[in-house]
Every structure is written in structure tokens, then in C-alpha cells.
Amino acid sequence: MLIELRHVSKSYSGADGGAPVTVLDDINLEVRDGEMLALLGQSGSGKSTILRLMAGLTEPTHGIVLSHGSPFNGVNHRLAIVFQSFALYPWLTVQENVQVGLIQRRLDARQQQEEIDRALELIGLTGYENAYPKQLSGGMRQRVGFARALVAQPEVLCMDEPFSALDVLTAENLRTQVVDLWRGSGHAGLKSIFLVTHNIAEAVFIASRIVIISSHPGRVRNVIVNSLPYPRDVNSRQFAALVDQVHAAITALVLPDEPAEPIGVRPTGAGVGQPPATVDGATEPVPSTLGSRIETIPNAPVETIIGLLEILEDSQETINVFDLSARIGREFGETIAIVKAAEMLGLVDTPKDDVVMTQAGWYFLAAPATVRKTLFRQSIMKLRLFQMLTARLQGAPDGRIDTDIVLEELGTLLPYDQPAKLFHTLIAWGRYAELVDFDQNANVVYLHQAGENDDADAAEASP
């Protein structure tokens, strides 16, 4: 066991002294000798934080990080990192940049030159020793990043979304090279590779073990062993089957078929879905905050939700979430956020990993703009978060609340979310629905003032 995270949690204190945000919760993870481990998750799930915890760039709030079974101080020197944005120094040549990796090895000038030459040959950049990063393409810059990491002769080569800043062709090329590197006699001392990515196909192509983590907070959910033989064929049936398996695991995680929060029902000890317990024949309203979990609102702008409905309208058959993601050209995390948002509003259904438009969704799409707003308003008023917000606003003097108070409360209610981002989405939806508004200059949130149009819209809206 080369690196191990044991019961690791990581929290950051909130911006402007707000409530602390927990990014990682009780992570148990290990990098074994002789494996390629991929960490798969959405952006913001804390995967980069896990990498930095392994490297010793940051410390866990709880739990412990072990290297070869024992804790270490400072930076883990058995590791080297390849960064997402290459992290090359613009004022150093390729040669000098790679030389940075040799700092900890204390070689003399001749040996250093040999090492650098060997690394550059391995990654295919001989002849470029005196070039500056500005003069290289993205793929070449990342190769320099690899060379730098390799000359440091790490045990574990860590890569933080190394191909996400590259175009598709260069990325494919480099991926194959990385696999060949690890498999071949390659570089001395390299035992394992740790890859952080949000690209499912990439994880299946490269890794021998795939760990899936959820987000908000980051938790280890699934571990899938990938025993496909190298070299892997992207077009083979087994590859596709494994990709499907990963898909299914992720969708079960992010778009559960059972809603986390039963809409419109007050939970009691009797169980979810049951009518509230009656006392002497009369229904007793139970305080709604007891034991209920408020679901967060995904970060999806309104026009993307509408765009999703329009795509569904155009296509003849049901669409799979991942095909959708490829089609709209967005990272699957973003796509899932949009789909989830649409689902929360009752506009789509997500049986397994398909997306299907609901009756309400068809109606919404057919309606004129003003009616859409009313429908939207009705939908979001079914969400606990908006109910609480409007209740607070109605209770406040003048129907206005200071933004900082709202942020603080959001931080308390949803401790795993970034209050600022959540607020942003809340206001965006609220403005579309003409329900709440936000005054940037005075820094207050307030109820949208009712106008004469609202009654007409309400009349038109009823089907």
C-alpha cells in the first residue's frame, strides 16, 4: 500500500467568516503497488483536494494520510504531480523546466543532462530543449510536465485532470502514451499511477481500478475493478459494457429513482409517504425541519433547462443521459446538474439513466413566455428551499433581508454546499419566476412586487 487515506475529512472555513464548508467526508482510499487508480467524480467533488492531500500540499481536518503505512510531514516525496494547466514556468526553457524535477535528486551536471535527454526522448520532445513554453502547443507543454514529473523518479505519478485542457486528438495520443509508459520498462521506480478525472471513457481506458466519488460532500461511493487486458480497445464490447457499468453506478448516485425529499409530505415517525399521524382524529402539523433533509438546488441556469426540454422535444426516442452529455458537448457533471434541476421542477423524469419529458414538461414547452414564468413559479414553490426563503421574506420588515444573512442561513442549512454558488442559482431562478429579486447595490434580497399582470397570468396558467 503506497498511499492511504484513512477516515479523511476536509473542511474549509466559509468565505467572509461564514459557516465552514465540508468538501470531503470520511474518505477511505488507498493507492496500491502496481496499479493505475482513477478517481472519477464531478467538478467540485473534491477530487483535486484528495490529490493534494496525498501529496502533502494540504492537511486533512480529520483523519490521517499515510505513506507506506506511516504518517509523513510536509510534502510526500515519493510523488510527482502533472497539473491540469501544465504549471510550466514561462521564463524557463523546456530544458530548465524539466530540470526542476531533478532538484531533489542532487545529481551533477552531466548526470542531470543525461536524465533530461532521456526523459525528453521518452516523451518525444528532443530538439525542443531551448524552446519556451509560449512557443509550444498545449499537448507539448503537457509532455514537458510529464517529463518533469518522470525525472523526479516518483513511486506514484499523480495526474490532476491532465488532459482536460487539451484538444481531443492530442489527449487521445497522450493517454495511449501514458499507458505504454506505465506498462513498458519505462521509468525506473514508477510503481503506480493515480489519475483524477471527470471523463468516464478516460478512466475506463487507463485505470485498473476506478473509484467513484459523489460531491457535496465528497464521499467514496463505488469502487469498480477494471480487469480488461492492455492494450485496451475502445471499440470492443467489453469496453462498452464497462463504460455502461460505470454510467449506471454514477446515475444511481446522482439521479436516484427514489427522490431524496418527498415533495409535499411532512415526514413523521410513521415513515415517508404515509399521511401524518392523527391525534384525536385531527391532523397535527409536525414541524417540517424535524429529521428532513433539504435537497440542494443544482447549479443550472434556466435557459439550459428550457434548452434541455427543446432537445427532448426534437428527438424521437428517449435519450440516455450520457449521450445527451456528448451531444450538447458538456461535461457529464454539468449535464446531470441540468437534468436534475429539470427533474426537481417536475419537467422531466429519469428512469434509470434515460431522460424523458413529463406531461408538465410538454405543457411548459408549449406555453407562451409569461405563462412559463407562472408555471415555473408554481414549480419552485414546491421546493423546500424556496418555501423557506419566501416565508422568511414575508416575515421580514418590508419583505427585504440582508444578503449576508441569507448566505449564512444557506451555509447552515446545507453545510456541504458553497453558499455563494447556491445563492446565485437561487436568485437566478427566483428572478425568472418573478418571485424574488436581488439588489446588488443595497445588498438585499426582496420579494418581487406583485403587479397587475400576475392575476391575468394565473388565469391563463390553469389548464
Binding site: 493534494r52 501529496a55 502533502g56 500540499l57 510531514n73 510536509g74 510534502v75 516525496h77 510523488l79 510527482a80 504531480i81 497539473f83 491540469q84 494547466s85 504549471a87 514556468y89 514561462p90 521564463w91 524557463l92 526542476v100 524535477g101 532538484i103 531533489q104 542532487r106 530538439g127 531551448n130 524552446a131 519556451y132 513554453p133 509560449k134 512557443q135 509550444l136 502547443s137 499537448g139 518533469r148 523526479a152 492530442t170 446588488q440 447595490n441
Partner: protein, 586 residues
Amino acid sequence: MTARAYPQTTGQQVERGSRFGWIDAVVILAIFVTLWLLVVLSGDMRVRFDELHPPSLSLDVAFIPYYTARTVLRMFIAFAAALLFTFTYGYVAAKSVRARKVMLPLLDILQSVPVLGFLSITVTGFLALFPGSLLGVECASIFAIFTAQAWNMTFGFYHSLITIPAELQEAATVYRMNRWQRFTKVELPSSAIGLMWNSMMSFGGGWFFVAQSEAISVLNKNIKLPGLGSYMAAAVEAGDTRAAVYAIIAMVVTIVVVDQLLWRPLVAWAEKFKLEQTESKDNPTSWVLDLLRHSYVLTWLSNHVGHALGNVSQRAALLTSDLTQTISGRAPAPVKTLLRLAMWGLTTIGVAWLVFDAFDIATEIRTAMTGAEMLRVVWLGMLTLLRVLAMSVLATLIWTPIGVWIGLRPRVARIAQPLAQIAASFPVNMTFPFIVAFFIATNIPINLGSVLLMALGTQWYILFNVIAGAMAIPTDLREAATMFGLNRWRLWKTLIIPAIFPFWVTGAVTATGGAWNASIVAEVASWGNDKLVADGLGAYIAQVTEKGDQPAIYFSIVVMALFVVVINRVFWRRLYDLAERKFKLD
């Protein structure tokens, strides 16, 4: 990917000098002349000095080159000291969050104290340090110039250090650079561009105080160090127009030469440290740098000196590794506690000493000055404040339209901006005597005239910042405005004023800060036997400094510093926040 993309020649990789050319003769000559000058001039700095018989200054025009050389040497020594200060102070403030909370406000206060204030406080100290030699006076003068240059550079350096991209720092940590390596390979290069620009501006700021620093008329002493500034002061006292004009010409020539031979090449060279990864079209160029790149001697020198420095740096790196700390940049525990104790100890001693000193000064002031007099000083401060306000309003009204006009035309801007920067460096107080003569002739009261004098020195900051702001307006916003047929007034209201607002704020802050400093030379102006004294804090400070009235000096300087600091916090800080929040174009 195209076959073997050859590195483009961008000026970075222009063919290096491989043969001896005429430029090499020039370079060798220049090196020898500089060395000879350094030896001769520094020898002259240690001449015997008797306070009762201060060295006399000749008004002979033939002496001007020598005096100019002395002045330039002083400026560069002060600049070297300022650079050292910048590196240490800025580095500590950037690395330690706790220290930052004290160091930054302290720097703010130091920035608000007028240069003359520093001079009056330290001159006796320096004189005592080197009794009997002119070196003491030189040190005082150099220190005064240092205070005119250092603060801005420190702020700039601090800012560049804390805005280094996180991944560059992380790579340095992962690949185990120690502090020295990190400083030389990551932090210093990242801040190079900002540092060059700041140095250029700050060095220029020093010219303004050259006259004050060299013709030391503080505390009843009247010492004129050999230099261009005191030459000018002597010319003014004697009413010698011819000498004054020659002095001004010499000053202009010096500024242009230093700008072209030193600053422009440095700024152009620093382009290689740009953090953005794409080549932009508007790189600063320098004809001198291009010439120098063809020099065989310099290429040879830079390679060998570069190698030697590299080796020294490596040795230093290994040494510091072994001596002080672990690779993560965190010192081992006992060293850390020791350092912390030492720091706390020093700080408490320092604070205690300052507090006692402050008490002493306060009692001194209380006994020496009456309440009425103190109020009068504050009242004078108000008057100067009015002048500063008037100056900023007028300068804004006049120069903003011009600046926008220039900024919207890139070709004009390319010529005009460096000119405006040079104008900002030129010590306008050298021309004051002529203007004062003009005032006397036309009976313009100095109370109003001093506004003009203050403006002449500082309005350029507003001008070239507005130019920069207009240049930064994105083309698509301008095109949209044209498409929608916005008339002149609407265009200004909706686009131009909001877009240049953040830049204007920067320019106005510098201009008003400079105006306070300038008030000391603007509110007391003399030509020959005529002396015009305005009612204001600057005039008061100048007068009491000359007389040597210590309590009054302390009090008035504190009052001026307070005015500047309070206005900064209450007014400028708010405007900065507003500019950040509402008017930032990104």
C-alpha cells in the same frame, strides 16, 4: 501538429551577437566610463565637511555635467536601497498573514508622510553618524530620495507575490524547491514585469525631491550638496535665469537618457516573464535593447555571468536547505519557536520604544505649542485640502477628455503615453521659479497660484491612467455603442465614464498623494529676493522645518499624515471598492 514547429522569432530569440560590431566598442567604452565615474564620484562623497563652513556651490554652467553625475549617483544608490527594502518588506508581508496585518497599514502611513518630514527627522542622526565628513549629509539626502521611491515599489511587489497562480507555487512545493530556489525561480520572475514598471515610476518620483534632498535647509542648517538640485536652488536664490534654464535642460536630457538607456530596455526585456501564455501584439519595444542584443561582449558576459550566478545560486540553495528547513517550506519546530520568540521580543521592544518616543514628542508639542496654534495648523490643513481638491477636479475636467481622445486612438497613444510618463517624472518644481516670477509680474495671488504649481507636477498621473483606461475599453463595446447610435453625451455616460472609472481612481489617488507632498514646495515659492508664501499646511511645514522648530515640525507632519490617511480610508477606499464591484470589465 505541423512538422517541427520552429520557435518563432519574437525578439526573444533574435540572433545573439556572434561577432564584434561597433556596438561592442560602445558597450566597452560605456562600461569603463561608468566604472571610472563611480570611483571618482564616490571618492568625492567622502570629502571633509565642517558644518560652519559648508561647501560652496559654483553657478558656473561648466559644472552642470559633474553635478548631474553626482545627482544620478545618489538616485541610483537610493534606488538600490529601495529595491532591497522592497524585497525584504514585501516578501515578509506576502508570506506571513499575521505580519501582513501590521505591515501593510504601516506602509500606508509611511506613504502619507511627506519626504521633507523624513528628512527633518533623520538629518541630525545621519550627521552624527559620520562626523566631520560630507558622507553624513549624503546619507541623509540619499535616505530622503529613498523615501520618495520605496513605498510604491513595495506595495507593487507585495501584490505580485500574492497573485502568483497557485499551480506554479504547488509545482515548486511538489518538486521540492527550497525558499531560495522558489524566490529566484518562481517569485522573482513572476513579479518582474510589475517590478520593472513600478521601478520606472518610482525612480521618476524621486526626481521631484532631488532639490529638497540636496539643498538641505532644515533645522537652521543650510547645506548644499554638489548636485543638480542644489544647483537649481542656488540659481533660484541668486535670481540667475541663465543658470536655471541650463539646469532645467540638463534635467530633461538626463531623464530622457535614463529612460531610454535603462528603463525602456528593462521593461522590454521583462516581457519574457509574462505569465499569459500567448504572444500579444502590443509588446513594449526598445531600440536600445535590440541594439544591445547584437553585442558580442554583452552576450558573452551574460552567458558567463549567468553561469556563475547559477552556480552560486545552486550552492546557496544547498546551503539553505541544509541549514534551516524541510522541503515543504516549514521550519523544524524548535527553530520555528525560537524565531517566533525573537520576533515577538523585537516587536514588543520596538513598539515600546515607539510608544515612549511618541509620549516624549507629545509632551514636547504640548508644552511648545498652544491650543490655538494647533488649531491653526489643522485649519491650514483644511486650506491645503481645498487646494488638492481643486487641483484634482480641474485636472480631471481638463485631462479626461484629452486622455480619452488619445486612448481611443492607438497610434497616438503609443507616442503620447511614454511622453506623459516622462512628464510625470520631470521635477516640475524646477520650473516653479519662472512661474513664480510670472505670478509676481501679473499679481496673481500665491494662494490660487499654488494650485497650478501642484497640478503641474501631479496631473500627469491622471492623464496617463485615463489613457490606459481608454485603451482598455473593449472594441466590441464601442462597436455596440456605434450600432445603437449613441450620441456623444450618452456614449460618455453609458460606456466611457464607467469604463475608465477604475483607472481614473488609480490616477487620482496617486495625483492627490503627490499633491500633498508637492504642497510643501508649491505653497512657498521664491525667486531671487521675492518670496511668496501661501496659507497652507505645506507652507507651514516648509517654514518650520527651515527654522528648526522641532515640536511644530512633528505636529504638522502628523497632521498632514493624518489628513492623507483619513481621506484614503474614508474616500478612496470606498471608491476603489465601488470600482471593483461595479465597474470592473471582466
